[in-house]
Amino acid sequence: MRISEMCEEGSEQVNVLQEVLQFIINALSLGGLYALMALGLVIVYGILRLVNFAYGELVMVAGYTLLMLGAGPIPWLIVAAISVGMAVLTSLLLERVAFRPVRQASATTMLITSFAVSALLQNAAILFVSPRAKAVVTPSFFTENFQIGSLLISKGNLASLVVSLLLLGLLTLFLRRTLLGIALRAAADDFVMTRLVGIRANQVIATAFAISGFLAGVVALFWIGRLGSVGPFVGSTPVLVAFVAAVVGGMESLTGAVIGGYLLGTLTVGLQLVLPQSLLDYRQAFVFAIVLLVLLFRPQGLVRGTAVTERV
């Protein structure tokens, strides 16, 4: 994903337009992935006021499914579908066994529960799989490029760009057009009132967790496709990125999460481009410094939510 690597070697005069296009594709690709990560976190937070730090482990579960089935004879697309399915199932299972019992408890209790679940799953992976990262068989697709004129585009980047836009579109349709989708948005506004109109609390919450797991699963495909390996801590960067993007965008708004994700992605790719080689290692530090600045001026995030804290 490094711009310099993608450009044709030896081409002395790099077209400005080409640079810009390259930048836009990379920014939208990484930003789209970040947006999906943030959405997966915010869709649960909006309803339960729970920052689910075990979200990263859903990426891990999907990753290990890729690892175990990827080497076999099953076509990759089916393996990918099963992996996403595993992330959804795990998310639903965690909701049922870990979060439902503490739903009435304070936000702090739920937060600590999510840390516990996260640590438990990481340690299970260390114990039963391996403490070290293992190489995952990914389709050559992720490392291949194709050329349009003098523009060299990574297929993996293009795929994550298209898939993230597609999923955002589908999710928007679901949230606006279906009763369950409208109920999800309503529950983020005012959970008690949502129950008072007859929406079943368990159904709405389970749906939110299912969507969260689905997004984590899709993110895992591309994230692990980029990394080429999966380990017990593979989910820690995605969950951190998701959290930061969500905070920047505004924790209480789905639109905010998407904006935060794209912003963070653009920032990361942009810094890659403008930072001198010697400072590239500190790219993340620059990203977080800018995030801090944003939060200094807009502590509530870029997009303010409409949720009422007052309950019936």
Binding site: I182, A183, R185, A186, V197, R200
Partner: protein, 239 residues
């Protein structure tokens, strides 16, 4: 239709209801009046299933509501218009109305009802695709009532529907309530505006610190105004 017997309820260690008994017959408009903290809202929240009572019975159409969740109680035919309206601010008026009918499985009839609501409350038709949060207080109140009606409740509970509204809107809200009542909806109404409430109610309960202090017709309450006036605190001027 609804009968509440010896109900004790509250929040944690705070007991807001101390042995309240009351009933609402089908087709009646029953009002609960009383000062702040008398337990009116607590009673409604308990009937709606938001609060679990410590003791007592709640029977609706012959079946107990105890232990049921809010989403099951609305399916039994009770809708609540909560204090403070609680419309969904980020949802459009249309979506608010559609969610009001969440328990119904007849999409065509739901569409007809939405049209009917827009005819009854023209402002909702005008603001149909606007987020609920952009509506004024009076408009939100109309939306909250319309949303509750969308579930086709047999018992409509309204908690302070005129609170915070301008005098003209208060007139409108009361006209709306008597109109609903005339059309056959059973109503349990909590109001601070005692005078207006007595004009439209069939029967009245006066609550004071969690107990029923008086029950009877509005005329009876008016006759005994000297006795009960002392309990009304803030709303004394209204009588």
């Amino acid at each position: 239709m609804l009968s509440v017997k010896d109900l004790y309820a509250g929040y944690g260690a705070i007991i807001a209801l101390r042995g309240v008994s009351l009933y609402v017959k089908a087709g009646e408009l029953v009002a609960l009046v009383g000062a702040n903290g008398a337990g009116k809202s607590t009673l409604m929240a308990t009937v709606a299933g938001v609060l679990r009572p410590f003791r007592g019975q709640i029977i609706f159409e012959g079946r107990s509501l105890l232990g049921l969740s809010p989403e099951e109680i609305v399916r039994r035919g009770i809708a609540l218009v909560p204090e403070g309206r609680h419309i969904f601010p980020s949802l459009t008026v249309a979506e608010n109305l559609r969610l009001g009918a969440a328990i119904r499985g007849d999409p065509a009839a739901v569409e007809r009802d939405i049209e009917e609501m827009c005819a009854r409350f023209p402002i909702l038709g005008k603001r149909f695709h606007q987020p609920g949060g952009t509506l004024s207080g009076g408009e939100q109140q109309q939306l909250a009532i319309a949303r509750a009606l969308m579930s086709r409740p047999r018992l409509l509970m309204m908690d302070e529907p005129s609170l915070g509204l301008s005098p003209i809107l208060v007139d409108e809200v009361f006209a709306m309530i008597s109109q609903l009542h005339a059309s056959g909806v059973t109503v349990l109404l909590v109001e601070q505006n005692v005078e207006r409430t007595l004009d439209i109610a069939d029967r009245v309960y006066l609550l004071n610190t969690g107990k029923v202090e008086f029950e009877g017709t509005p005329e009876q309450l008016r006759e005994q105004v000297d006795i009960v006036g002392a309990y009304l605190g803030d709303v004394r001027r209204g009588i």
